[in-house]
């Protein structure tokens, strides 16, 4: 027999109702926003017939369904990460590290490979064998482009990890910090790589280092360079092309949110430069044509593309920029020099379709120049593309 006092009963009910909020609030959740929040498909309720077959699995799936949708999961996660960041100076994930002077670094692509990006950026891409392999493939790249009537260049953009290696925190394993410092000090086979005639190879580490003392040069809380750093990359590239003129754009200093922390919903405002060039406009029609021409070659037909037109270019050329996500930020700044720039991000593109994407682009527009642009950890991607180009049939 259990005797419960009336007050105990009221208290118990209040507690129960309070605890039921996360489940009762599931009805308030927007599934589309939850998908975006989790960055994956949501777990679905298991079919009832699965219960008899494997009840443990049935309940595991049901629990996953619940855990994905409990209210307010998004707000709770955000608040927790904010508290960790502001109160304990703890990054929202292990793959993020908080450096000195307000620098924020992305060490890895996932929690399974917390230092994977560091390894690529500071070690693998600067491996002598890797550089030699790339160098050996460049003639094939030239041949591939010239058979399609294009010039071709390679641009490797240094990251904040090599530019500001001395700001990496001690939580980053010593081996990576040492490797990044070595790159910062100018030890890399990429700096001495001599491209064959017909291709400009640009790795503007020294130029970027020289400008890097400006605190807004490479936004401290970003993975991607913007503004001043991209202007330096572009101008280094134009120097390699011996253009002899400079793009008439200007830098405007301001404050912008940290790109890395923004993905976790944490507001951190940092100094940043914006490149202002009124002659460069986003070309929506060209972008639509470009995207339609190539998208079926991408996973789930999702191609990230951009197109810019310039009313007063330095060079009367149309450029195709095949790049990683660094190209999404670079293309507008590069468009300051060219008549047209179309850019495509290769993240959802498999190796066997690289050549076809270039050919489809060339079929859609006249392409004068192909720029292969990657962040410094993407030298391996360049090798993959170069191998694909080397294997492609020539076109006359």
């Amino acid at each position: 027999m259990l005797l419960i006092s009336p007050l105990a009963r009221v208290l118990t009910c209040l507690i129960a109702l309070l605890l039921l909020i996360p489940v009762a609030g599931i009805r308030l959740q927007d599934e589309a926003r939850l998908v975006q929040f989790h960055n994956r498909n949501l777990n679905v309720l298991p079919p009832p017939d699965g219960f008899m077959r494997d009840p443990v699995e049935f309940f595991r799936q049901a629990k996953s369904w619940l855990a994905d949708r409990a209210y307010p999961i998004q707000q709770a996660s955000l608040l927790q990460k904010k508290i960790l960041f502001h109160a304990f100076k703890t990054p929202p994930q292990r793959r993020i590290s908080l450096g000195s002077d307000g620098f924020i670094f992305v060490n890895g692509g996932s929690e399974e490979t917390v230092n994977g990006i560091l390894a690529n950026v500071c070690m693998n891409s600067h491996d002598e064998a890797m550089a030699a392999q790339l160098r050996g493939l460049l003639p094939s790249v030239i041949q591939f482009a010239s058979s399609r009537g294009m010039a071709v260049d390679v641009v490797i953009v240094p990251t904040s990890m090599t530019l500001y290696a001395d700001r990496l925190p001690t939580s980053v394993p010593q081996i990576y910090r040492d490797a990044c410092r070595e790159r910062m000090q100018g030890h890399s086979p990429l700096l001495t790589l001599t491209a064959p005639p017909g291709l400009n190879f640009v790795y503007p580490l020294q130029a970027m280092k020289s400008a890097s003392s400006d605190e807004a040069f490479f936004p401290k809380g970003n993975w991607h360079p913007t503004g001043m750093s991209l202007k330096v990359v572009r101008d280094s590239y134009l120097d390699a092309l011996h253009v002899g003129k400079t793009v008439d754009d200007r830098l405007e200093r301001g404050m912008g949110p940290s790109e890395i922390m923004n993905t976790y919903g944490i507001d951190v405002e940092l100094p940043v430069y914006f490149v202002r060039n009124p002659r460069v406009q986003f070309d929506a029609a060209r972008n639509a044509t470009f995207n339609t021409a190539i998208r079926e070659r991408f996973t789930a037909s999702q191609a990230t593309t951009r197109a810019y037109a310039n009313a007063a270019p330095l060079l009367e050329e149309s450029v195709l920029m095949l790049s990683d996500s660094y190209g999404e930020f670079s293309s507008e700044v590069f468009a300051g020099a060219f008549r047209n720039v179309v850019q495509v991000t290769s993240n959802n593109l498999s190796r066997e379709h690289v050549v076809d994407v270039v050919d489809r682009s060339a079929a859609a527009f006249k392409i004068d120049r192909l720029i292969l642009l990657v962040q410094e950890g993407g030298v391996g991607n360049l090798v993959v593309w170069a191998n694909a180009f080397a294997a492609a049939p020539a076109m006359h």
Partner: protein
């Protein structure tokens, strides 16, 4: 289902509380909820625990109704043998077959599923049978009541271990007042906080370090050992507090399971403060029947070693647990041989230092995945192997550093002693009656703060390992 999961905290528990408040026949509903709790995690293996209840119900009546002492004893022997056979088969058959007969890893015996909490419900069953045999309690004629004793979900998978005679009365009649609900809720919330806010972050440090034992430096090996020391205390202690709190809210008074064990000044004292319900069970149902300390020093040492070898084995079917048990048994014997007397004459700081060192070394044996790994970590801790590794500051995040310090401070009863005049803390028994109203408000505020902070972490899907699978 674990207490620190979305499904338990925000669905199962509130529904249970509502049903307990309004639906009559509360023992039956409690049993049904407990069966469901077990079924969610173990599926059809719930039949094992259900069969155990049925068998022990019959065994209990069998022992109780036999008049002749010899027949009573035989019945007890058979019933204990059946219970131990179940435990032996599900928990130790693979270990024995592999260790003694070299059974390959893919043989059927190595794949026998270990039903969750089997060590706990088997010990409950044995306690029930022995208490009847000793006339400490009468056989429970209500099948529902016995089911509730053996299956009660708050203590089903991680204790505390209940001795039947201490709870038999509460199975038949219990009272829940607002003070039960208040203290139960606050204790549950604090236990949840111990588990989610302290133990889990410490697991986040210890687990990867133990996983890469070969690359640890002396400093990081110590960090791994210390973080695990905090993890297991706050995990197990937190889980016990949650169970006790839930018990209070349902009118049960479960025994205290942890009493600040890391402030002990000897291993003997440590075992009076660590997993107290298990120590009491071994004392009452094994150590004393073996003769305890009544048969002279040699047999006392033998009894201690038997108890601790079995205590180690109870925690898991692996040689690391056997070694851990033997290690503690040996330390207790050494203390009895005179080391404890010597200790008492030493400064307190040395007494604490010795005990903590011995406990931490023990936890390395306990946590290691193999004897080799345990040896490797210990050799690094004691500078027998030097490998360079990241500095401790490089491994700990800001949160983990704060939790590490908080864990060390909360391992001692400093906060409890400082706050008990102003806050109605649930750890004090008997509950004081002369506290002002604000003391309850403050206690509730602290409990709710722990609940909200823990919920934030749980909802965010923070790392939360479950360490009772092997128990």
């Amino acid at each position: 289902m674990v207490f620190s999961s979305v499904d338990f905290l925000f669905l199962f528990l509130p529904l249970f509380l509502l049903v307990q408040s309004f639906v009559p026949n509360r023992n039956l509903t409690f049993v049904l909820f407990s069966l469901f709790f077990y079924f969610v995690g173990e599926g059809w293996f719930t039949a094992v625990v259900a069969a155990s209840v049925v068998l022990n119900y019959l065994f209990g009546i069998g022992i109780d109704t036999r008049q002749e002492p010899g027949a009573k004893k035989r019945m007890l022997g058979i019933s204990i043998a059946v219970n131990l056979s179940l435990l032996l088969f599900f928990k130790y058959a693979g270990f024995i077959a592999h260790s003694l007969f070299g059974a390959p890893a893919d043989s059927w015996i190595m794949k026998v599923h270990l039903p969750l909490g089997i060590s706990f419900f088997t010990f409950h069953a044995i306690s029930y049978l022995i208490d009847i045999y000793r006339h400490d309690a009468k056989a429970e004629r209500s099948f529902v009541n016995l089911s509730l004793y053996m299956l009660m979900f708050p203590q089903l998978i991680a204790g505390p271990i209940l001795r039947f005679h201490t709870i038999a009365g509460q199975l038949r009649r219990r009272v829940v007042t607002s003070r039960h609900v208040y203290y139960g809720l606050v204790l549950f919330c604090l236990g949840l906080g111990q588990k989610v806010l302290i133990a889990d972050p410490m697991a986040g440090v210890a687990d990867p370090l133990f996983a890469r034992a070969d690359t640890l430096s002396p400093a990081t090996a110590w960090l791994a050992a210390i973080c695990y020391t905090l993890q297991i205390y706050f995990d197990f202690g937190g889980y016990s507090n949650m169970a006790i709190g839930l018990g209070w809210m349902a009118g049960f008074h479960f025994p205290r399971n942890f009493d600040f064990p890391y402030i002990s000044r000897s291993i003997t004292e440590f075992w009076r403060r660590w997993h107290m319900s298990l120590s009491r069970w071994f004392r009452d149902y094994l150590y004393i029947p073996l003769g305890g300390n009544r048969l002279g020093p040699i047999k006392t040492y033998r009894n201690l070693m038997i108890v601790f070898l079995l205590c180690g084995l109870w925690h898991g079917a692996a040689w690391t647990f056997v070694l851990w048990g033997a290690y503690h048994g040996l330390l207790l014997i050494v203390e009895r041989l005179g080391w404890e007397d010597l200790l008492r004459r030493m400064p307190r700081v040395l007494q604490h230092g010795y005990t903590l060192l011995a406990v931490v070394v023990g936890w390395v044996l306990f946590r290691a995945s193999s004897l080799d790994q345990a040896g490797l970590i210990l050799s690094k801790m004691f500078l027998l192997q030097q490998t360079s590794d990241a500095a401790v500051a490089e491994i700990l995040t800001g949160e983990e550093t704060v939790v590490l310090v908080a864990g060390i401070l909360l391992s001692a009863p400093l906060a409890q002693r400082a706050l008990r005049r102003w806050i109605a803390l649930p750890l004090l028994k008997p509950w004081p009656r002369d506290l002002p109203a604000y003391a309850y408000s403050l206690g509730m505020a602290i409990g709710l703060a722990a609940l909200v902070a823990s919920s934030l972490k749980i909802l965010s899907g923070a790392y939360s390992p479950f360490i009772y699978f092997r128990f």
